[in-house]
Amino acid sequence: MTGSTTPVQARPARLGWVGLTIGVVAVLVAAILGATLGAAGLDPMSVVRALLDALPGVSVESGLSEVQSTILFEIRLPRVVLGGMVGAVLAVAGASYQGVFRNALADPYLLGVAAGAGLGATIALSVRGDSTFLAPLAFVGGMAAVGITYVLGRSVGGRSATSLILAGVAVAAFATAVQTYLLQRDTDTFREVYAWILGRLVTVGWSEVRSLAPYALIATVVMFGARRLLDVLSIGDDEANALGVKVGRVRGVVVVAATLATAAAVSVSGLIGFVGIIVPHVVRLVFGWSYRVIIPLSFLFGAAFLMLADIAARTVVAPAELPIGVITAFLGAPFFLLVLRTMRGPP
């Protein structure tokens, strides 16, 4: 064999210490900044000491007053943790969708979950006039839309990924049309629905975190478990099948897990775009092609990215807030282009 040596080396399908360390540090820094910055400034070291003090078996004097402690544990931290969970879930769901559909443009909203959740939210706001049922109806709407997409896709194209994606486009268009019709009829809800569509992290104590946590946990465990099979799917359905992988089943399980987590995230945070597509791509460009690397690092960097975006959303025009979806797009798009250009070089 002509073994001409080349300096080009493939990135291994292993999660290295460098990526893992950077990811964990990014999450910790973003979390501490998120807990520190805001209308009532808290001293970062006091925040760290208070967090250590909250650990079982650790006792440290934080130096925070009772009011500051309440701000930290009942206002800041729930929001920071929610932001981290939503960011992690959306990024991992996006990476999983890109893996099962072998489509770089796939994001967690691909199969209609966003449009379905949007319709559910619109119905909740226009029927009751308040947001009591917003989260549950957004969740049901998102899951229902993907369920219909799946049934339609299977009925026209069997197990083909393309038919599923096309069915998702049709379902999303239909749900958006119904949503637009409802908004035209009831313009009072327009502003609130619009704010929800742009994404928002609003917490009342820990209730949003508690409602998202079980879905996020189950879905994350499933998607982490499937990361090696996502690598196998990268050689195509037929070849993966020939290696004994039940491709249809893997795709179904991963899509259900990713959709469940996305619908749960969307129901508490609105439609936060870009995280599910930009974070996995940046991770892929910097750390390599393998989903054994992309899934865990998307989890960490997705969490860190959304926590940082939320700091910007809260502080840029304080005391008012910017929709977090605007921040993710505003910061995410140029950063993504920068990474794309740096890693691939100029054309």
Binding site: Q9, R228, I235, G236, G244, S290
Partner: protein, 251 residues
């Protein structure tokens, strides 16, 4: 041993394989030849289990288990550009790994041995996108070998290779067959090469086996002319028949 027993495949209403039955003995190298659309690739795909079929595909008397019994080298394997050679070959261990996919020492050793047997040592971290056609075919063979399946199905493994690389790949397959006691079924367009390497040829036409036997019995001007529909001349050579096309007259 692999056997197709009354295997029928239809695409929509179109029958592609019409009750094909064929048995290949342990360690034998069978070539599937026939014109485009005859059903060669479909037979291979039924053998691997990636098309729906009726009938039975059996390996050593038991219904074939996908992944474990049959390794497959597709006509156009999908090679992700950025994936490294060793990680690609490790995909061949998939049938032996659980859902969580922890790789054992045996898996790692098998991958290293497969890479060595195909002369790919030093290529472990080469991205697949940087390989030449012949290197890529070897890598796909290494992945198939790492599966440790007793049967290897090759779908036109030399289709995109020049003659020297084609011979190189087929020599490697022949070595593997002998050293690993593999049973090999290969769909082939190059009739001369098929006749040189395969111990037995099956001529497929219209979804049926129309001739089956020693290459010198199958590679005849009458049989090939009847089913390929072109002017074909078969020349005798001590290493096996040489099949050449006859140019149609310009008159």
């Amino acid at each position: 041993m692999i056997g197709w027993q009354g295997v029928v495949v239809t695409y929509g209403d179109v029958p592609v394989l019409k009750s094909v039955s064929l048995e290949v003995a342990d360690g034998q190298w069978l070539g599937l030849i026939g014109p485009n659309g005859a059903g060669k690739t479909t037979m291979i795909k039924a053998g691997v289990g990636v098309v729906e079929y009726s009938g039975v595909v059996a390996v050593n008397g038991q219904e074939a288990r996908r992944g474990e019994d049959v390794a497959w080298m597709p006509q156009r394997p999908h090679l992700p550009d950025e994936m490294g050679v060793a990680d690609y070959v490790m995909l061949g261990r998939t049938p032996h790994l659980g859902y969580l996919g922890a790789e054992s020492k045996h898996d790692v050793d098998t991958v290293r041995t497969s890479i060595e047997k195909l002369g790919l040592s030093g290529f472990e971290r080469r991205p697949l996108g940087t390989l030449s056609g012949g290197e890529a075919q070897r890598v796909v063979l290494a992945r198939a070998l790492a599966q440790e399946a007793p049967v290897l199905l090759l779908d036109e493994p030399t289709a995109s290779l020049d003659i020297s690389h084609a011979v190189e790949v087929l020599d490697v397959v022949d070595d593997l067959r002998r050293t690993e006691s593999l049973t090999i079924v290969m769909a082939a367009h190059d009739l001369t090469l098929a006749g040189r390497y395969c111990e037995r040829l099956a001529l497929i036409a219209g979804g049926e086996v129309v001739a089956d036997g020693d290459p010198s019995m199958v590679l005849t001007e009458d049989l090939l002319g009847a089913h390929y529909g072109a002017g074909i001349r078969v020349l005798a050579d001590e290493d096996g028949p040489i099949v050449v096309p006859v140019r149609r007259s310009n008159d």
